[in-house]
Amino acid sequence: MNFFIPPQLKRLVLAFAIFISAFLIIRHFLVPETFGQYGFYRGASLEETAQTPVMYAGQEACFTCHQDIEDLKQQDVHSEVRCETCHGPGQKHSENGDTTLLENPVSRESCGMCHSKNVAKKKEAIFQINLKEHYIDKKCIDCHNHHQPWVMKE
């Protein structure tokens, strides 16, 4: 070293070195282990998010036992509507068929959620009916078969 280093500079560099190394040591203990594994986040949280319990089983699970209903449904306009759309979450029932039965939506309001007349619904998207005029003293399923709506009961 043939140039002159002022003593203040030496002390300053030493102070910086102490603070930076203290920071790095503390940081090493505070930052979680999987942090930075895939990006600026805790990599373990992907696994934790994936552990959330499932409430809806998916249509395939229904068909393992209810294949006859599926065959009926495939023949009519409700073929693209999945079971849990109307019947609600089915995971618990598919695990244990006897304990938890699913809701059977039989009221005019539940059919009306999709089929009631609304100017915002496109006619190509869904068949609409004016529920205030159409057989108001009956339930929909008195005449319509719910899985085969155009196969009338009477």
Binding site: S45, V54, A120
Partner: protein, 255 residues
């Protein structure tokens, strides 16, 4: 002291500056800087890159998507918190636009404006857009929200500090603070279901198939075919969020 010292220190300065610059360039070229600079890059090409399509012409406003999402994802039933919701836009003949979203569409929609006054009306389901350049991940001070390697924006509930910066930053209004857990919450595209090979619940229960999702990298997937065949738009393209939620038949009134 004097002239000699000035000349020699200039040479030493140039030498040390060149050393520092050279080592910085070398360090970056070698690639070891990725251990210091955290960035979201797709790590493996084999993973899917999820995108979503919503077809406004098919949505009938039944609200099953919003209802089933709340059940599946343990979202409280109050009408303030939604991971996904449906809005109804009614453009009247006099040009005014009404936007309603009663309980997110869960109870269905009653037609408010009589037929003869309506010029056009439609339903717009909304959810997290899973942006590829999402503002919410940029503003998070701790790294509690992030884009997963599959392109899904997720929240690390154990790490979130509840500062609400992300709720403010999202231009689509899809984040909220969970009233019980007190941390941020939003649509995860049912990540827990995707990992089991199931569809997200909103897509599963939609009766008309208005909601679709898929792998944007797979040229044969339904969603890529749909994007090729239809004219799709994203919400607020001027904000350059890299939104991966594409709407078919999106009208200019939609905010």
């Amino acid at each position: 002291m004097g002239n000699e010292r000035v000349k020699s220190s200039r040479r030493k300065f140039l030498k040390s500056a060149a050393t520092i610059a050279g080592s910085a360039i070398g360090f970056n070229l070698l690639g070891s800087s990725r251990y210091l600079v955290f960035a979201a890059e797709p790590k493996e090409e084999a993973l899917p890159w999820y995108g979503i399509v919503i077809d406004i012409e098919k949505c009938i406003g039944c609200g099953k998507c919003a209802k089933s999402c709340k059940i599946e994802n343990d979202v409280p039933q109050e009408p303030f918190f939604f991971r996904t919701w449906v809005e109804q836009y009614t453009v009247e003949n006099n040009g005014s636009v009404d936007i309603i979203s009663p309980n997110g569409g869960i109870d269905g929609f009653e037609q408010q404006v009589p037929d003869e006054e309506v010029f056009k009306s439609f339903f717009v389901p909304k959810m997290c857009n899973h942006c590829s350049k999402s503002p919410c991940t940029q503003v998070c001070p701790v790294g509690a929200t992030f884009e997963s390697p599959e392109g899904i924006t997720l929240i690390d509930e154990k790490y979130c500090i509840g500062c609400r910066y992300c709720v403010q930053a999202c231009p689509y209004g899809c984040r909220f603070i969970h009233p019980v857990k007190k941390v941020a919450n939003k649509c995860t595209l049912c990540y827990h279901r995707l990992k089991k090979g199931l569809d997200p619940v909103c897509m599963e229960v939609c009766p008309t198939g208005a909601r679709m999702y898929g792998n944007l990298r797979d040229k044969d997937s339904k969603i890529v075919k749909f994007l090729k065949e239809h004219t799709t738009h994203v919400l607020r393209p001027n904000l350059n969020t890299g939104s991966k939620l594409y709407y078919n038949a999106l009208s200019m009134e939609v905010r």
